[in-house]
């Protein structure tokens, strides 16, 4: 859609071998380094696809501003792409989003409407929806929770990349859910290529948790793009376990990853412990750990 600019840097991320963290002999644990995307998270893939669809359909004309709700990473992706595409970006985000997120959005020139932190991402979503309904001609509203381009981006890019990078050897895909785009798209693609691939859903162990960007499905509104029938199994992870694994990734492998990455890897390692040799568990490192400095993620316990 926009040759020779940051849009072209999205995707084709490395797959890192984390198997040395696993207690299981002969079981691989590999993870997509999605923090290598240009705005620093996996969200670049979905954001690019949703905006590309808007440009193609004419929904995102030059007079329109991109409008959506976010808790951070999708907003940062929109902000980067909006700057490259010369579109205004307006984001509705809970006021308790951390300093790093607000600073990054500011750097890209996005406008932020802060919403009630007690209402979480639901409140931000409803606020963005209301803004869109009050001025539908002024905005392009991708609505990442319900937009099929979101999982499709992963079906077309992340899934095939994992397939190729594992030489078709992947046996399990482990991933948490925010909108469900990555989990749905990658799981569907891998199962279409090899039906016995198991899709393992990672869930915070509590409705109140510190695993930024992940959704506790039992207590929240189901995103329109998420199909409850797709996961083969569910692994619950506590915030404390996710943080512990983040510290192991940094200290033992030099991989500075964010909290949802810690949750994904924690679940992948636990799963690997019960698998036969020859199994290959793939997961996703959704963003980098430098995005959580002010949250105390790296403070000494």
């Amino acid at each position: 859609m926009c040759p020779m600019n940051v849009c072209d840097l999205v995707g084709r991320t490395p797959l890192l071998d984390l198997s040395s963290l696993s207690p299981a002999e002969g079981v691989g644990v590999w993870a997509k380094a999605e923090f290598c995307n240009p705005s620093g998270s996996v969200k670049d893939r979905a954001a690019r696809a949703m905006l590309a669809e808007g440009l193609k359909s004419g929904g995102l004309g030059p007079e329109k501003a991109v409008l959506d709700s976010t808790s951070g990473n999708t907003g940062i992706a929109y902000a980067m792409l909006g700057a490259a595409l010369k579109r205004r970006v307006v984001l509705h985000m809970p006021a308790n989003a951390n300093r790093e997120r607000k600073a990054l959005l500011g750097a890209y020139g996005a406008e932020v409407v802060e919403t009630d932190p007690l209402e979480g991402s639901d409140g931000a979503y409803l606020s963005a929806k209301k803004a869109y309904e009050s001025d539908p001609d002024g905005y392009f509203f991708p609505n990442q929770y319900d937009n099929p381009e979101n999982p499709r981006a992963h079906y077309l890019t992340t899934g095939p990349e994992i397939w190729e990078q594992t030489g078709g050897g992947v046996t399990h895909f482990v991933c948490s859910v925010g909108t469900g785009g990555t989990f749905m798209g990658v799981s569907s693609k891998l199962k279409s290529l090899k039906p016995e691939v198991r899709a393992v859903l990672v869930q915070p162990d509590s409705p109140l948790h510190g695993i930024e960007g992940t959704k506790h499905l039992a207590s929240t509104i189901k995103p329109g793009i998420f199909d409850r029938a797709l996961p083969d199994e569910v692994v619950a992870v506590s915030t404390e376990e996710a943080v512990k694994v983040c510290r192991r990734l940094a200290g033992e492998l030099g991989v500075l990853a964010g909290v949802s990455a810690g949750a994904n890897v924690a679940a992948a390692l636990r799963l690997a412990g019960g698998l036969p040799p020859g199994s290959l568990v793939a997961t996703v490192l959704g963003d980098g750990g430098a995005r959580y400095l002010s949250d105390g993620l790296w403070d000494k316990a």
Binding site: S71, A97, P117, T182, P207, L208, S219
Partner: protein, 96 residues
């Protein structure tokens, strides 16, 4: 004295759907004890095995995070705005 404590959407299922709970106490710690006493199922989601608030649970009194200040010893009164705020912005509807 009675103080109103605002609670986040993620925990309202433990408080009959209410966004605010009226509690008796002179400090934030009194309010937390009262909240868990009133809604015991909420306890494990707020407190660790030592009874301390989990790392991702913040309390704001009159708009200021008390972490790093007086913490649970912070005095509270009826006229003040007291809120239990998650440390992360995503998670209610989610954004991952």
């Amino acid at each position: 004295m009675t103080v109103k404590l605002s609670i986040p959407a993620a925990l309202r299922g433990f408080a009959d759907g209410r966004a605010q709970v009226e509690l008796e106490g002179a400090t934030l710690g009194d309010l937390l004890d009262g909240l868990v006493g009133l809604h015991p199922d909420m306890g494990p989601h707020l407190l660790d095995e030592n009874g301390a608030p989990r790392g991702y649970v913040n309390f704001f009194v009159d708009g200021k995070n008390v972490k790093g200040g007086l913490g649970l010893g912070t005095p509270v009164g009826p006229g003040q705005s007291v809120a239990l705020v998650p440390a992360i912005a995503g998670g209610s509807r989610g954004d991952g």
